[in-house]
Amino acid sequence: MPSGALLFQSVILGLLLGGLYALLAAGLTLYFGIMRVVMIAHSAFLILAAYLAWWSHTELGVDPLLSMVVTVPLFFAAGVLLQRLLLARLRPVTLTMMSVLLTFAIAVVIEGLLGYVFSGTQRRIQLGYGSASLELFGARIAVVKLIAFGLAAVALLSLYLVMKKTAFGWALRATIQHRDAARLVGIDTDRVAGFGFGLGLATAAIGGTALSLDTTIYPSLHWHWIGPLMAIIVVGGLGSVPGAAAAAMVLGLAQSLLQIELGTTWAQTVFYIALFLTLAVRPQGFFGGRLAQRF
């Protein structure tokens, strides 16, 4: 039986990890909601953003957080272009399947370019506050992990407010819920879908920066991330942003706690077991999201 201190520490680490998963999964589920697109390249963009943060810190000497000033708009624009120029051309009948192939290709291209430019060497940002931590009831919270969690929380909250409180958000949700009806009431669904895609990719820019603060990055790391993220959005209910966030917190916490008994290798399986169980018992997901039935 693990000690109370270890359990408490693991809960904290799990919540911090879950926050990051939540942000990343939110973007991924958004693409599916808007367009029925399975975006395999989401985590490749995540690693790309992490590399840009690392590069700007190492080469330009600026704090990695500042790199977001450039990467967030850049990724938003890239998302809009990606949707308008590539994904919108896929035939609606085979869109979901073809989007897997297309975004798989994009992921491989990004990985290849990262390897070409930065080599396969593992990189890590060296921050002055990299090993600093705060104490909370005997447990320790690393400052960098707290910053990453804060970024994720702020980004998710902003996403929520955009979706709920702005005209664009209403149009986006209308497009997600019923594309034809949205068009009938005068929403330019193509434009909205493009912006929605940009929004999803912008979360990858923030997530990548958060990730770069405290882990090692290497070009093929995105394969390590896409599996858990896909599992999270299915468990959360495809297309549901709050569902993805909730599933991310639960699974992040579960992974962290299972590591105590099972070790790092086996704890990763929690995502896939949750995926199997969801598909077997409740294919539409546990937190809303009616879209999965049509998948």
């Binding site: 593992q122 992990k145 882990t215 390590h224 962290s256 790092t264």
Partner: protein, 408 residues
């Protein structure tokens, strides 16, 4: 070129007179026997491309430095050394073909080993078949010495599981009150990295030191916070990392984030890297690491090696280069002592000599057991006052071990 023509002539004579005549004409009137102006040809297959190309090139530089330094002093037995290097593309099938070619058709006088366990084992099998002495600069894993090779010698101070021997001895000799009582181990799932940590674990457990955490992580692990949490909450007196480079750095940072302050922290490989201090934000105080080679080692031939190598290549040698150089030193010592360097009976004499003798090298005096396993242990270095210094064994130390270590 001339040597190869001569050798080929000799080989051809055995095969057929016609061919021998044709080649003999090309070879001119050179003597059939190896004479004093014939170079000693040393055959090597190295991974110059593919997975191991980086260390492979390091090993090549080490061999080149050895040939140049030896030749500048007049060579061996009055003969110059000539290297014949083939590229095996990091491929185990290729390495077999390479050594077949070097020994069988190129008729080199001596062969030395390639890089990495994966390539050393098949290469050694070929050398064994031809009865050639096989000194090798890499291949520290246990399996190398379980193949029953009779001609193989590993030219480094110790195999992975013996790297920490000096530290184990030091710790077990401490008085009861000071001796660490609990240890946490975390090792990469890799025969070399894990071998170092588990070698120390076996010795400390035998000496009554309790293991409280024993974690093995896959090589692609990037998040060490949960492993660190286990180690930190165990409050072990000592932490041992069976690490390569990046995982060691990540684990140390994760432990520091949790404010874990052990009495002693030992990690393989990572702490001896030039980028290490910057990578962990200079919080290096007291970290220990075994090292197979350091430019500061006080052994006599090492000063010459560092100086001349630096002049030749522009930067000081690292461990791969030093291991290759050591291999050269072992072969040279045997050739000088036995007085011959050619295929045939001479090889058996060389093998017997290496087996029975101790050789002074850039990594200290080396001797071997009957499987070719070196009998030494690695030096232990420690970060003291922002610099990494040799602390064990006592006869090579630059400063004393700092124990318990200061906070990091």
């Amino acid at each position: 070129m001339t040597i190869r023509t001569t050798k080929r002539t000799r080989w051809a004579t055995a095969v057929g007179a016609t061919l021998a005549l044709a080649l003999g004409a090309c070879g001119g009137d050179e003597p059939e026997q190896a004479s004093t102006d014939d170079p000693i040809v040393v055959g090597i297959s190295l991974p110059l491309t593919g997975d191991f190309s980086e260390p492979g090139k390091g090993v090549q530089r080490g061999y080149e430095a050895w040939a140049k330094i030896t030749n500048d002093k007049g060579g061996l037995l009055g003969r110059q050394i000539e290297l014949k290097v083939l590229d095996d593309q990091s491929n185990a099938d290729r390495v077999v073909a390479d050594y077949e070619q070097l020994i069988g058709s190129d008729q080199v006088d001596i062969v030395v080993g390639p890089f990495s366990t994966r390539l050393v084992v098949p290469a050694a099998r070929v050398a064994e078949e031809y009865g050639m002495l096989f000194v090798e600069p890499a291949g520290a894993a246990a399996e190398v010495f379980q193949q029953g090779f009779k001609n193989l010698f590993y030219a480094a101070p110790a195999v992975a599981s013996d790297h920490y021997n000096h530290l184990a001895e030091y710790l077990l000799a401490l008085p009861a009150g000071q001796k660490p009582t609990t240890v946490a181990y975390a090792a990469m799932d890799d025969p070399f990295a894990q071998g170092t940590a588990y070698g120390l674990k076996a010795k400390l457990e035998a000496g009554g030191v309790r293991t409280v955490v024993d974690e093995v992580y896959p090589p692609n692990t990037t998040d060490f916070s949960s492993i660190a949490a286990k180690i930190a909450t165990s409050k072990a007196d000592m932490v041992v990392g069976g690490s390569q480079y990046q995982d060691g750095v990540n684990l140390i940072v994760a432990l520091q984030q949790l404010n874990y302050q052990p009495k002693l922290a030992a990690f393989s490989t990572a702490p001896t890297s030039p980028e290490f201090a910057a990578a962990i934000g200079n919080k290096t105080e007291g970290i220990l690491s075994p090292t197979g080679y350091t430019q500061d080692a006080p052994y006599e031939s090492n000063k010459e090696f560092v100086e001349k190598y630096t002049a030749q290549f522009g930067s000081p040698p690292e461990e791969d280069e030093a291991n290759a150089y050591t291999t050269g030193q072992v072969v040279a010592a045997a050739i000088t002592a036995v007085g011959c360097a050619e295929q045939g009976d001479c090889q058996k004499k060389l093998v017997d000599w290496v087996r029975a003798n101790k050789v002074e090298t850039v990594v200290g005096p080396l001797s071997w057991d009957e499987t070719g396993k070196p009998q030494g242990a690695h030096m232990i270095q420690q970060w003291v006052g922002g610099e990494i210094k040799i602390v064990l064994p006592a006869d090579a130390k630059e400063t004393d071990v700092v124990y318990p270590k200061p906070a990091w």
